[in-house]
């Protein structure tokens, strides 16, 4: 019997479960390696060479090069791991997080000051069908 995953019905949201973790293992381990200052320097000096040290898929490496956080998460990344790529770029969490939305960082920060994104209309996949 397949595992029940009720969280698949939430729009714009990827729950990091063991299936995602299996897909993203090397992507996340690569990202976590950037906790070390020396590794951040080596990554910045030659991204391709550093990425090639990890048995990631070509798509995962490209998502990192593109700094496409939605794609990294789709390919098994978890935000707390892949945020270390953003940290290496000198970005803060508002900048990293906003890049996954339709807002830029400034508009995102303004939205947060205004009370954040409302849950209304954002709870179920069918509520987003018109956005496809």
């Amino acid at each position: 019997m397949a595992l029940e995953k009720p969280y698949l019905d939430i729009p714009g949201t990827t729950v990091f479960d063991t299936d995602q973790a299996a897909k993203g293992y090397h992507l996340n381990q690569f990202a976590m390696s950037l906790m070390r200052a020396g590794n951040r320097e080596r990554f910045k000096a030659d991204e391709d060479a550093y990425l090639d040290e990890w048995p990631m898929t070509g798509e995962q490496k490209q998502a990192v090069r593109d700094r496409d956080y939605n794609r990294m998460i789709e390919l098994g990344g978890n935000i707390y791991f892949v945020a270390k790529v953003g940290a290496t770029d000198g970005l803060n969490y508002v900048q990293i997080v906003s890049s996954m939305t339709t807002n830029d960082a400034e508009a995102h920060a303004e939205m947060m000051i205004g009370g954040g994104r409302s849950p209304d209309g954002n709870r179920y996949l069918h509520e987003w069908e018109h956005k496809r």
């Binding site: 009720p6 969280y7 939430i10 729009p11 714009g12 949201t13 990827t14 729950v15 990091f16 479960d17 063991t18 973790a21 293992y25 996340n28 381990q29 990202a31 976590m32 950037l34 906790m35 070390r36 200052a37 951040r40 956080y69 939605n70 998460i73 978890n78 935000i79 707390y80 791991f81 945020a83 270390k84 953003g86 940290a87 290496t88 803060n92 969490y93 508002v94 990293i96 997080v97 906003s98 996954m100 939305t101 339709t102 807002n103 995102h108 939205m111 947060m112 000051i113 009370g115 954040g116 994104r117 409302s118 849950p119 954002n122 709870r123 179920y124």
Partner: protein, 291 residues
């Protein structure tokens, strides 16, 4: 004997720590939040415990995906602040309490909670930001800390029920420890926030405030709430709120005693991407025994 004196609940948003580290707490963005923390800090200064059992989640700093413990208890005498990618926070090392850690481990594991025991780990913002929020910027933290790390990052994660029951077991462990110690249990993380995907930035003020009420007045009911409700209503990272149930479980009313007294509550939006909440509950046994 050791005793539980209070439970404390607080968000552990990294940006709150950064604001303190960079001296930005009086800037217009942060001034209202830090003004809101003042009553909690004053209460804490007058009620500093000997030991805090600090419940938080690791954010890919102590544990990589090599191993993901569901519940991990720190056994060490010392924990260094982690370099999370931006450099380590300029805060004091966290000093542990290894003999009480060992006692809790023996007591709780023998009650069938299969804790992972960790002899060496760094602690990330989940641990250090609550200390900064409650104690400010001292040269050394004013109490010992026992980290209790809960996996809320890689699903499956422990249920609300399991978290509440663990808190009850921690209370029994503390109360069977011979040394005369005041112990607080802190539950951290939340409140509503989502850091990933096109839905990022979600905040649910109504749900957060209902959570406060249910946590205080109906913890057993709140413990039955499924993870998917937290994620749908309070955002994918709002799931951290299940950790507040560990601290709530340690209060006397869930062990046949009186209800705790609420001494402080704060709710503020935003702190970076997050709704910041804070709550202090004074344990009933403190009032009856030491009034």
């Amino acid at each position: 004997m050791a005793r539980i004196t209070a439970s404390v609940y607080t968000s552990h948003v990294p940006a709150i720590g950064v604001a303190m580290d960079l001296g930005k707490t009086q800037e217009p963005y942060y001034a209202p939040l830090f003004a809101g923390y003042e009553p909690a800090r004053a209460w804490m200064a007058a009620n500093t415990p000997d030991v805090v059992v600090l419940v938080f989640n690791d954010h890919a700093n102590a544990f990589s995906l090599e191993m993901v413990p569901t519940f991990a208890l720190g056994m060490s005498a010392r924990y260094e602040p982690a370099d999370e990618g931006w450099g380590a926070r300029p805060v004091p090392p966290v000093v542990g309490q290894p003999t009480l850690s060992a006692h809790i481990a023996h007591s709780v594991i023998r009650e069938d909670f299969d804790l992972t025991l960790v002899n060496d780990m760094p602690v990330d913002h989940g641990c250090t930001v609550p200390l900064s929020i409650m104690f400010g910027q001292p040269d050394a933290w004013p109490c010992a800390v026992i980290p209790l790390v809960v996996n809320v990052v890689q699903y499956p994660i422990p249920s609300g029920r399991r978290c509440l029951e663990l808190g009850k077991a921690v209370r029994r462990a503390v109360e069977s420890y011979d040394e005369d110690l005041d112990v607080q249990v802190w539950g951290t993380g939340g409140m509503s926030h989502q850091l990933q995907g096109p839905r990022a930035g979600l905040i649910n003020q109504k749900w957060d405030n209902e959570f406060f009420e249910r946590l205080v007045n109906d913890p057993e009911g709140q413990a039955t709430v499924e993870h998917v409700e937290y994620v749908r209503e309070a955002g994918s990272e709002g799931i951290e709120l299940v950790m507040w149930l560990v601290a709530r479980g340690a209060m006397a009313d869930l062990a046949g005693g009186g209800a705790p007294t609420e001494v402080h509550r704060l709710y503020h939006v935003p702190a970076s991407n997050t709704a910041a909440g804070q709550l202090i509950l004074k344990d009933a046994s403190t009032m009856t025994t030491f009034a």
